[in-house]
Amino acid sequence: MMMRNAMVKLFPSAMLFGALVLSPGSARACPVCDQETGKQVRAGIFDEDFGRNLLAATLPFGVFLGIVAAIHFEFPGGRRPLRPSRPDGPEST
């Protein structure tokens, strides 16, 4: 709950940051964007292989998240009912 509140508070700042990064102002700060090199670089990034390259770059991270989710929910031997009784019990967050 605390984390959700913090994320809600941070969301406007994150949106503002994203808008500034993507604004034309940041493009003007780029020293090569209007030059021939910049045009070739953009053409090379956003070519016909862009989708495949994007998939290739992101695929391992999807696998990582899947593995960690499996650990989080299914890790063998993760739970252990050995702790002596506590009067206050676990704190739910």
């Binding site: 984390m3 695929l59 960690v68 252990r80």
Partner: protein, 164 residues
């Protein structure tokens, strides 16, 4: 289940942090300092400024995703630290970091170096040796992590309770 200890939140957090930090070791050491390879260097070899900048874009995306893994790992660790059923075990945490780093080397190596062939550890004709060595380092790190996590099974100290 009020008296159960649950290590999985700490293991999940440590594993994701290990994946992130392992990714940064790869990106900073191999991509930037040693410049042995870049994200697409097998598809688009770095031969001039344009190809270097195109690879720099994809390296940047790789680092952004690596940062995201680290950030999510930190969030999971923060949440784990707020729970009173999670034992604050150094062995479990260090083992999870090693497990995560090993998973990074193994999964990234298998997908990018062998399956998709978009780059290799060293972009030379003899790259297979280094690619296999990278996978082997992943297996070793996973085994070390697994042993450390198992050795931490008996740890029952909750965060903040040590030294009381």
């Amino acid at each position: 289940m009020a008296n159960d200890l649950n290590r999985t939140p700490l293991i999940a957090a440590g594993t994701l942090l290990g994946i992130g930090m392992g990714g940064f070791v790869d990106g900073i050491t191999f991509h930037q300092i040693l410049q042995l390879h870049n994200m697409l260097s097998a598809k688009r070899p770095v031969t001039d400024l344009v190809s270097a900048e195109i690879n720099m874009f994809w390296d940047g995306l790789f680092h952004a995703l690596t940062w995201t893994m680290t950030a999510i790992g930190l969030a999971l660790l923060w949440r784990a630290g707020q729970r009173r059923d999670v034992p604050w075990s150094t062995r479990t945490f260090i083992g999870s970091l090693s497990l995560g780093w090993g998973l990074f080397n193994l999964v990234e190596g298998l997908i990018d170096h062998h399956l998709l062939n978009i780059h290799h550890v060293v972009e030379t004709p003899g790259h297979l040796f280094w690619d296999i060595a990278f996978l082997a380092s992943g297996v070793v790190l996973i085994l070390v992590g697994w042993v450390a996590i198992r050795s931490g099974r008996g740890d029952a100290t909750i965060r903040g309770e040590r030294g009381r």
